[in-house]
Subunit: 149 residues, 2 copies
DNA sequence: CCACATTAAATGTATGTACATATATTTGCA
DNA sequence: TGCAAATATATGTACATACATTTAATGTGG
């Protein structure tokens, strides 16, 4: 659907303003579809992202700092997201022996199992972007990178 | 900066996965820049968006329902955002005379004044998207619309 | 006319975000 | 050595989001 119709704003000042709004709207649209898929697994999108980072490290531990570095939203509060995952026994938290300020965070077997169950679902929710041809995705990536230059 | 470097994930499964992450990351990047600009005006991004919708209606009132229809994030809680704006005397809330379930929300003179002050700042924060040529923005809009088809 | 569904908004609760601050540990250097 | 700065994480507070529930007003079919 055209962005004009989705937010019932018939006129944009120019194509740039439309691009700006379209970009933010589309990202939100994609994220909401993912969040909906996550609900049945009783997990949120940031929690899922943290779990995936931990799987990437497994069996090595990660620290909170490493999570922050890798997360899409750098300013989020990794510590409290780990709290929630720990409460669900999807990760463990132990004081790092070599640096007692830091905390070693590890994904548990339960966490790995959950991710495996979810992989198919999550990937299918990312399918919307496959509406683009390979050339178009490459174009999109170039345009987005240029915006952030 | 390339998205690979920004989130320190050197390899993506394919260009589609990269596109997905790039889209969400770039939207967040843009929104954080805007939020930073808003801070000095003691207003948040959703509050600003609601104010702009109200200015669009002015001098007609809007209802909470109309705000929800027009907001970029449809699921957000318009009622509580209006609470905050009302507390700052940027909007007024009166029971709609023709339908006492509904609430007429109007932007105040103070609200209009704030928006006018902010317009320049906000626009300058949207400048990043002007890194694109007119043709490129048009391409971007077409690609985003295609994703949401 | 009235019970019942529908509609509009507000509220409750859990989670996440943004920013400042606190606590504990480690490091560096006078 | 000892003490200040830096580092790693946690916590406090305000705001927003997501979803369910509640409250009040309106519409509707029997």
């Amino acid at each position: 659907m055209r962005i004009e119709d989705e937010i019932k704003q018939p006129v944009f000042k120019d194509e740039y303003q439309k691009g700006y709004i379209n970009l933010i709207y589309t990202a939100g649209w994609l994220q909401q579809r993912q969040a909906a898929a996550f609900r049945e697994f009783d997990i949120t999108l940031p929690q899922f992202n943290v779990l995936r980072i931990l799987r990437g490290q497994h069996p090595k531990p990660a620290t909170v700092n490493l999570l922050i570095e890798r997360m899409l939203d750098k300013t989020s509060n990794a510590s409290r997201i780990v709290d929630k995952l720990e409460a669900k026994a999807l990760v463990t938290r132990t004081v790092c022996p070599s640096n007692r300020r830091a905390v070693d965070i590890r994904i548990t077997e339960a966490g790995l199992g959950l991710l495996q169950t979810m992989d198919a679902t999550v990937l299918s929710r990312q399918q919307s972007i496959h509406a683009l041809t390979p050339d178009e995705v490459t174009q999109l990536n170039a345009l987005l990178d240029k915006i952030r230059d």
